[in-house]
């Protein structure tokens, strides 16, 4: 391992820029003549728009124009789409309702944009927005996914507000296995709705160049090429070659910046219409109302076991709330990113998972860190833990008995796990967590009046998204390969152009580490370019822990091509045959001789082309590669959470956290550890603190950070983090991905620990002090009666 190669804890190259305030975020970019957009949003969860009167607003100082949904429709701007087709059990396609970027006829959630005011300043736009008079006919709304079927019908295309009724697995085999089971564990689970809250709010800046008839969009996107494709091919604002999308520095995404949103479409439309650049930056309260939320499942799950605790079958029925419209990838999250992970780390012969997706009068729901996999892990890991308690088997032991032990392993829910060692991560985690000493610690807590509990989560996820053919067969509208270009400059420095996008992950460092190692050049001599459709070849962006597993695999291929070409150049320079050229540590050598050429010399020769005829070897040193993975990757591990519950107040304190993860090859252990920490924090947030609440009228009760609780440093202990390693056989570097693991593993670990502490399974997320106290009140009379 070199000091800057794969496996080295290289300090993040990008951090100097970020910590000294030199990042360039969308809102930092200013264009000459720029105007500011403020959206007029629906205050009602569901209403018919009778009329929008913009006359007073248009006369306000500084106002350039006020545009409405009717004008958008008149200009034939297309609807936003969901790009993953799901078919119901009966074969019918999902019911995708029209989603205009500005509502013209009806509004369907509080925050649904109705009009946009464009003015010289934000303050002027905001003043004018208050003068836009919208005459609403308020209609009854439905917000609870469990009641969506019987609620008022939101969209004409979706009777019973049902988008699809989908299923995966063999229901008959599952029924038979349950009939033969010795023990059945049943759980009702609500996977709480979450609001992403990336530190940088969403923003868009659109500019039209009449000279070239081109539109440029700077926006907070995790995948600028996909944004360009959707805005071009479906929304129809401009053909792809007339639209440039730039996602500059982006401050966190967690999934919420994957999607194509109304605001960027409206800014592009307005910029061309008004011939002025148009900028919009969300306020935090606007982010609460307009960013796609996450999770929001209502589930009933059952696990069948034999007398020895061997799992026979799993049956799951989930209602997934997709909100008022189908967001870009919303359909895939509760289906192929959820049910396919229901086997967990276990050898489960039969699984049947039904998912009904419904519309409600809430913000659209889509992928949020983990996307489907946290929900699946929560179902499986709660069931296994509860089954162990009910059967009087140690929870770790019950897991051991059911672990998959040989690979490849075909689950009954599509996935073929290619590598893993679940015993190893459990064992290591139990040692690090000192599970043996737990009972002693529990007694010590009891002396202080505290209830101590321990909870496991042996999670699995499918990352490295994804083999294009496989996802295509499941309904995905795009391929999920990745691209890389390696440009070697005449002086030997290197630019890497990647189709992935970094918004906190540190690609400028990790991708450069790979180049530094493979080409034997200093890491300072490598720069990474991403996020600009004019600079970078088409790419699929960053989500689903895919950038290292898929993006760096493409980079490996491109580097290999560059080395091949460079060897040819070196052969000419060294007057040897190409087959005799060896490349090592940045030096080309003729095998068995002391004749050599340095990397920089070969790079220069590739461009000056003095040593070879251009016909048989093209000048230049630049290669592009596209990499399509052969399988998903399967990061897995074991998290152990230990809590102390204050029985008097119900407050939970996490006192120990152990995470042992198998991410395959680790490129930069420092960055990986940071990803694990952040993931756990988000998972703990879901388990203890966060929960979006709508009232029955569809008003968002948790509409600000005064009511929506984000995790803070003091909510978390210091983590004990360890790694095990089985390399992924499905990509050249053996990488599995680490971005979502913590968020996937954590919720089940926390709830398993709390329920262990209080002796009741009746705890919902977020397990706030009030929730746990209420659970204790329900359990204590029962205990007293039993005593």
């Amino acid at each position: 391992m070199s000091a800057t190669g794969i496996g080295a804890a290289v300090r993040r190259k990008e951090d100097i820029r970020f910590v000294t305030g030199r990042g360039q975020y969308t809102d930092d970019i200013a264009r000459p003549g720029e105007t500011r957009a403020v959206f007029v949003r629906s205050p009602h969860a569901r209403a018919r728009i009778r009329q929008v009167d913009v006359s007073a607003a248009k006369n306000m100082p500084g106002v350039v124009d006020v545009l409405t949904g009717r004008q958008l429709a008149a200009d034939k701007i297309g609807n936003l789409i969901c790009g993953w087709m799901i078919h119901s059990k009966d074969g019918s396609p999902m019911k995708m309702a029209p989603h205009p970027a500005l509502a013209a006829e009806t509004v369907n959630f509080v925050g649904d944009p109705v009009a946009v005011v464009i003015a010289e300043t934000v303050a002027q736009a905001r003043d004018a927005a208050e003068r836009v008079k919208v005459d609403y006919e308020v209609l009854p709304a439905v917000v609870d996914p469990a009641k969506a079927r019987s609620g008022p019908q939101i969209h004409a295309v979706a009777p019973g507000n049902t988008i699809y009724e989908w299923a995966l697995g063999d229901s008959k085999a599952v029924d038979a296995a349950f009939a033969a089971a010795r023990h059945v564990t049943r759980l009702d689970i609500i996977n709480n709705r979450l609001i992403p809250n990336a530190i940088e709010p969403r923003a868009a800046l659109a500019e039209y160049d009449a000279g070239t008839d081109r539109l440029t969009l700077w926006n907070t996107s995790q995948n600028p090429h996909v944004a360009r494709l959707v805005i071009s091919a479906f929304v129809g604002l401009a053909p792809e070659h007339k639209l440039r999308v730039i996602a500059p520095d982006v401050g966190g995404g967690f999934g919420s910046k994957i999607f194509i949103y109304p605001e960027e479409v409206v800014c592009l439309w307005a910029a061309r219409k008004l011939r002025r650049p148009v900028k919009w930056t969300a306020e935090r309260s606007e982010s609460f109302l307009a960013d796609a939320h996450g999770r929001d499942h209502v589930t009933h799950a059952e696990l069948a076991l034999d007398a020895h605790g061997k799992i026979l079958a799993l049956r799951v029925k989930t209602i997934a709330n997709l909100g008022a419209y189908m967001s870009t990838f919303s359909s895939s999250v509760p289906t192929y990113l959820y049910a396919t992970l229901m086997s967990g780390q276990y050898d489960i012969p039969h699984i049947y998972c039904e998912v009904d997706a419904v519309y409600t009068n809430t913000v659209p729901v889509d992928a949020y860190r983990g996307a489907g996999r946290p929900e699946a892990t929560f179902v499986v890991e709660r069931l296994v833990e509860v089954a162990a308690r009910e059967m009087g088997i140690d929870p770790a032991e019950l897991r051991e008995r059911n672990f998959i032990k040989s690979f490849p392993h075909q689950t009954p829910v599509i996935m073929t796990y290619d590598a893993g060692d679940y015993h190893a991560s459990l064992k290591k985690a139990m040692e690090l967590a000192d599970v043996k000493g737990f009972n002693k610690r529990k007694r010590e807590s009891a002396r202080r009046g505290k209830l101590r509990g321990l909870g496991y989560s042996t999670y699995i996820e499918a990352c490295g998204i994804a083999p294009s053919r496989a996802v295509g067969s499941l309904g995905c509208g795009v391929g999920l390969w990745e691209s890389a270009e390696v440009r070697v400059n005449p002086t030997g420095t290197v630019e890497v152009l990647t189709g992935t996008h970094a918004h906190g992950q540190g690609h400028e460092t990790t991708f450069a580490q790979l180049v530094s190692e493979r080409l034997g050049i200093p890491i300072e001599n490598v720069s990474v370019v991403h996020g600009d459709t004019d600079k970078v070849q088409f790419g699929m962006g960053t989500y689903g822990s895919r950038s290292a597993a898929v993006g760096m695999s493409a980079l490996v291929k491109a580097i290999d091509k560059v080395i091949d070409k460079a060897k040819k150049v070196a052969a000419h320079m060294l007057e040897a045959s190409e087959g005799d050229i060896e490349f090592k540590d940045g030096k080309f050598t003729v095998a068995g001789t002391d004749k050599s050429a340095a990397w920089g010399e070969v790079a220069l020769n590739a461009y000056i082309a003095h040593k070879f005829a251009g016909q048989d070897l093209e000048p230049g040193l630049k290669e592009t590669a596209f990499y399509d993975p052969t399988n998903f990757t399967f990061p897995a591990g074991c998290h152990i959470c230990e809590v102390e519950v204050d029985a008097e107040t119900g407050k939970t304190e996490i006192v120990n956290w152990t995470a042992v993860d198998d991410f395959g090859t680790v490129v930069n252990p420092m960055i990986v550890e940071g990803q694990v920490h952040g993931g756990i924090a988000q998972g703990v947030g879901q388990a203890l603190l966060e929960g979006a609440v709508y009232d029955n009228n569809g008003q968002l009760v948790t509409g600000s950070l005064m009511d929506y609780t984000m995790p803070r440093a003091y909510d978390l202990p210091s983590f004990k983090v360890g790694l095990t390693e089985t390399k992924s056989p499905s990509n050249p570097l053996g990488i599995k991905g680490c971005g979502e693991a913590g968020a996937i593993a954590a919720p089940a670990a926390v709830i398993n620990a709390i329920t262990d502490a209080i002796g009741s399974e009746d705890v919902s997320m977020p397990a706030t002090a009030a929730t746990v106290w209420a659970a204790l009140q329900r359990v204590q009379p029962a205990r007293r009666a039993a005593a």
Partner: protein, 266 residues
């Protein structure tokens, strides 16, 4: 935020004059409650009268058997006051529990009391110690000052200048933080000064801070946590929201009162 005029008087008299001439004006003390609602356009005062340059409004000092705190004293300065730490650390616990360092370095005692947020911490200390609010016009006893949700006995044009706290031998504050905002979901301040026992509760009451007579009576027999064993208050009239039911808050009042007494007697 809508447009407003901005004034920076240097004396209380000037400030009072400005307030008299601008009936729609608001005093700016720390701004941590006022500015957010202005930014959200929920409040639109015609003018802000910033009190930060007014002389003599900040400081913590002992005067005989009282601690006198200037209205513009920042929470951090009260929390870190050496004299207060010496004579009545229980009172210092209150500003120390407010918000985060940024809030504690801007927010003021006068601003907090004049606003009388039902979840604010200072009202519990003021009522729990039987303090006196001193304004440019008069002295108001704590028991008469808090008149309901965001409402006080302050009249038009009246400016808090100081708060005088009698020094209690035993005093402590116990707070259960609202998980999101950090305000008091429930906060209980207890004190014993001679035979005077006070228990004041913030965060729980639908009408703001209140005293708990039953607890005070129990503590009069013996000022010890044990005296409150098993006691709580009725849930009627308490706040109930997504962060805690009225029953939970009622229960917390008992738990926190016992803990506060234990702290005060430790």
């Amino acid at each position: 935020m809508y447009d407003f005029a901005f004034h920076r008087p240097t004396t209380v008299r000037q400030a009072a004059g400005l307030l008299a001439r601008n009936p729609e004006a608001k005093l700016l003390a720390g701004g941590h409650s006022l500015l957010p609602v202005m930014k959200q356009r929920l409040a639109s005062p015609s003018a802000l009268i910033d009190l930060s340059l007014v002389e003599g409004l900040a400081g913590v000092e002992q005067k005989g058997r009282s601690i006198v705190i200037g209205a513009m004293t920042r929470h951090a300065d009260v929390a870190n006051s050496r004299v207060l730490q010496e004579v009545m650390p229980g009172l210092a616990m209150v500003p120390a529990s407010i918000g985060d360092p940024q809030v504690r370095n801007r927010g003021t005692i006068g601003g907090s009391l004049a606003n009388n947020d039902p979840n604010a911490d200072y009202p519990a200390a003021v009522l729990g110690l039987g303090a006196t609010i001193i304004t440019n016009k008069r002295r108001i006893a704590a028991d008469d000052f808090f008149t309901g949700l965001f409402s006080t006995a302050l009249e038009e044009g009246e400016i808090i200048t100081k708060v005088s706290f009698p020094i209690a031998k035993k005093a402590a504050y116990e707070k259960f933080k609202h998980p999101a905002s950090g305000f008091a979901l429930v906060g209980v301040f207890v004190s014993k000064r001679g035979s005077e026992i006070r228990v004041a509760v913030t965060g729980a009451g639908a009408n703001g801070v209140f005293r708990v007579k039953s607890f005070e009576d129990a503590l009069k027999k013996r000022f010890a946590a044990k005296s409150l064993e098993g006691m709580s208050i009725p849930a009627t009239g308490l706040n109930s929201d997504i962060h805690g039911s009225a029953e939970y808050r009622a229960h917390l009042v008992g738990v926190l009162a016992r803990r506060a007494v234990a702290k005060a007697t430790a």
